[in-house]
């Protein structure tokens, strides 16, 4: 190539490209956080798959509201479904929601950030103001409002709702990165030889943005899972899928917290949520360390 300037950021970009991915993964696994985080997530993914293909769906066949026993590990809920089974099935749903919502959030955020940063000018200003509005409103309120408007009864809607709540931070990060990249020489040179705008964005700017938002993306999955559980808990969750949040919702409505013996009903889904979120957080931190050389010093 005629020009291959080296910058600290490009070094990160290289880290994620095909041939170097192996080395990145290696570094990643060297960190204890990376290992534990990955282990946790893999565990739950396996549980989700097992539940999907091997376990029967939890149907209300057994006795209702039973205490934990050898037959029903965590007891049964108000419809007679086995809670352990519900939790296992909920794994897949919760993880999926988290992941897809993150995709929407990151996708939207990145697009907005790229566009806003690259265009600059009044368009940038307008977009950033709108973004500020989204950022200022407490996420819970925002989520509830969007849920009220868009509807959150189906799994698709819930995913959209959560996705729409979280794109602002990403947009901001992406935009500031784009702004600094825009001034660099390789962009200037690309323009000089007549590269089209899209080409510049696609091949020069975007790859340098990816490492930055990668760790952010992982954390977003965790937040999405948390958001879904909160929405469901408040009664605004999806009605047609089994998720951990809904188990918590049922548990709370049953007043299980105060009934001795049935507390596993409400404790177990929560523990699952906490663990999964912890797993993603660890992975996110580990990725951050690996991809951001500045942090490795510590």
């Amino acid at each position: 190539m005629v020009f291959t300037p080296i910058s600290p950021i490009l070094a990160d970009k290289v880290a994620l490209s095909g041939k170097n991915a192996g080395r990145t993964l290696d570094l990643f696994l060297k960190t204890w956080m990376g290992r534990i985080g990955l282990a946790i997530i893999l565990f739950f993914v396996i549980v989700a798959l097992v539940a999907q293909f091997l376990m029967p769906p939890a149907i209300g066949s057994a006795d209702r509201r039973m205490l934990p026993s050898s037959e029903h590990l965590f007891g049964t809920d108000q419809d007679g479904k086995d809670i352990f089974s519900r939790i296992a099935h909920g794994t897949g749903a919760s993880l999926t929601i988290g992941f897809v919502a993150m995709a929407i959030s990151m996708g939207l955020g990145t697009l907005v950030g790229l566009a806003s940063g690259y265009w600059g000018g009044w368009r940038d200003e307008v977009i950033m103001r709108v973004n500020d509005v989204f950022l200022s409103i407490p996420w819970l309120v925002l989520m509830i409002v969007i849920a009220a408007i868009w509807g959150s009864q189906s799994i698709g809607s819930v995913i959209v709702v959560i996705g729409l709540t979280g794109w602002s931070t990403t947009a901001r990060i992406v935009r500031s990165q784009v702004l600094s990249l825009k001034e660099r020489q390789f962009v200037e040179r690309a323009k000089a030889i007549g590269s089209g705008e899209w080409h510049i964005i696609r091949r020069h700017i975007f790859p340098n943005v990816v490492p930055l938002i990668f760790a952010n993306a992982i954390l977003t999955i965790a937040i999405s899972i948390l958001s879904e559980s909160t929405l469901s808990f408040l009664g605004l969750g999806p009605q047609n899928v089994e998720t951990w949040g809904r188990i918590l919702e049922n548990a709370y409505d049953e007043g299980v917290a105060l009934i001795p013996g049935r507390s596993l009903f409400i404790l177990m889904p929560g523990i699952c949520i906490v663990t999964v979120v912890l797993g993603f957080t660890f992975i996110g931190y580990a990725m951050d360390e690996v991809l951001n050389p500045k942090l490795r010093r510590r």
Binding site: P138, A222, T230, G270, L278, F280, T281
Partner: protein, 307 residues
């Protein structure tokens, strides 16, 4: 920007009634339904509604709550007081504790204390606050100590004949919600504070300061902390939204009738006047909070000027 926020708020609100309009039918006959619709002022066309809303807002007429049949201000007045109480206590503990812990962790980074503090931080960071509240309920109410219910016992008239008994009662009721909210929010602050401080501590000028012979305490106080506090303030300002979300959950779990509880209930019962008022207040509060944060930032950072 204040203007834009306010407008955005107004734009969002009409969106709600549009969607939530139909389900409001616990009533039997059609006549009753339409009478209610008329009473709620939903019968007017949208522009009329909007116009009325603007007018009423600026003349101080907030409307009557659908569920309570009392003026919205009354209901919210009580709620606001309770929320402020909870948030006040909680925030002080969260910020003070969070910064202190973050500092301790940063100073002894890598050692046992740091690891444990950071560990706790990470653990509670990802915990759904409502779940944590429930866990506390399971533990502490099964021991029969703190009540999970609303503020004072229902029979007691609201606090203003304030007696010592009532203060004790209120405090008792507030312990669990406060702990839940504080612990839930502190994790984030600790982590941010620690990271920010550690970032600062690796800078060259810190090494210089030590080389000059300053003691650790002095270095922290005069060089490290001030610089670490800057990103902290901006992040905290953004985090207030997060804490608010937590407060809502805590209020809901413990049936603590503050703003959060009223909001969630209002949404369930589709109580528009309440919701409109809440969002209005919310919007204003957010703007004020951001302004405050900006002002604090100006004071703390000699490099920033007021635009």
């Amino acid at each position: 920007m204040i203007m834009l926020l306010n407008f955005a708020l107004f734009r969002i609100m009409p969106g709600d009634p549009a969607q939530l309009m139909t389900p409001h039918k616990p009533l039997v006959s059609d006549y009753l339904y339409w009478r209610n619709v008329e009473k709620m002022g939903l019968n007017d066309t949208w522009p009329e509604q909007l116009g009325k809303y603007f007018y009423q807002t600026f003349t101080g007429n907030w409307g009557v709550s659908f569920t309570y049949e009392r003026p919205v201000i009354e209901v919210m007045g009580d709620a606001v007081t309770w929320s402020l109480l909870l948030l006040g206590v909680s925030s002080i503990l969260t910020f003070a504790g969070g910064m202190a812990l973050g500092k301790i962790a940063a100073r002894r980074r890598g050692k046992a204390l740091d690891v444990s503090i950071t560990g706790f931080g990470l653990f509670f960071y990802g915990m759904p606050i409502f779940w944590f509240g429930i866990v506390l309920m399971v533990i502490f109410v099964a021991q029969l100590h703190w009540f999970p219910a609303a503020l004072p016992i229902t029979s007691g008239v609201k606090p203003f004949p304030l007696t010592a008994d009532k203060v004790w009662d209120i405090s008792l009721h507030m312990v669990l919600p406060a702990i839940t909210l504080t612990v839930g929010s502190i994790a984030g602050i600790v982590l941010i504070m620690r990271n920010s401080l550690v970032d600062v501590l690796t800078e060259d000028y810190i090494t210089t300061a030590y080389a000059k012979g300053l003691s650790e305490k002095e270095v922290m106080k005069r060089h490290a902390s001030p610089n670490a506090r800057l990103p902290m303030v901006t992040t905290i300002a953004m985090d207030t939204a997060f804490i608010l979300g937590g407060a809502f959950q805590v209020e809901w779990v413990f049936s603590y009738r503050g703003i959060g509880w009223e909001t969630i209930t209002a949404i369930e019962y589709k109580d528009y006047p309440m919701l409109q008022f809440i969002f209005l207040i919310g919007g204003v509060a957010v703007v004020i909070a951001n302004l405050l944060a900006d002002l604090i930032l100006v004071k703390l950072d000699p490099r920033v000027e007021i635009i």
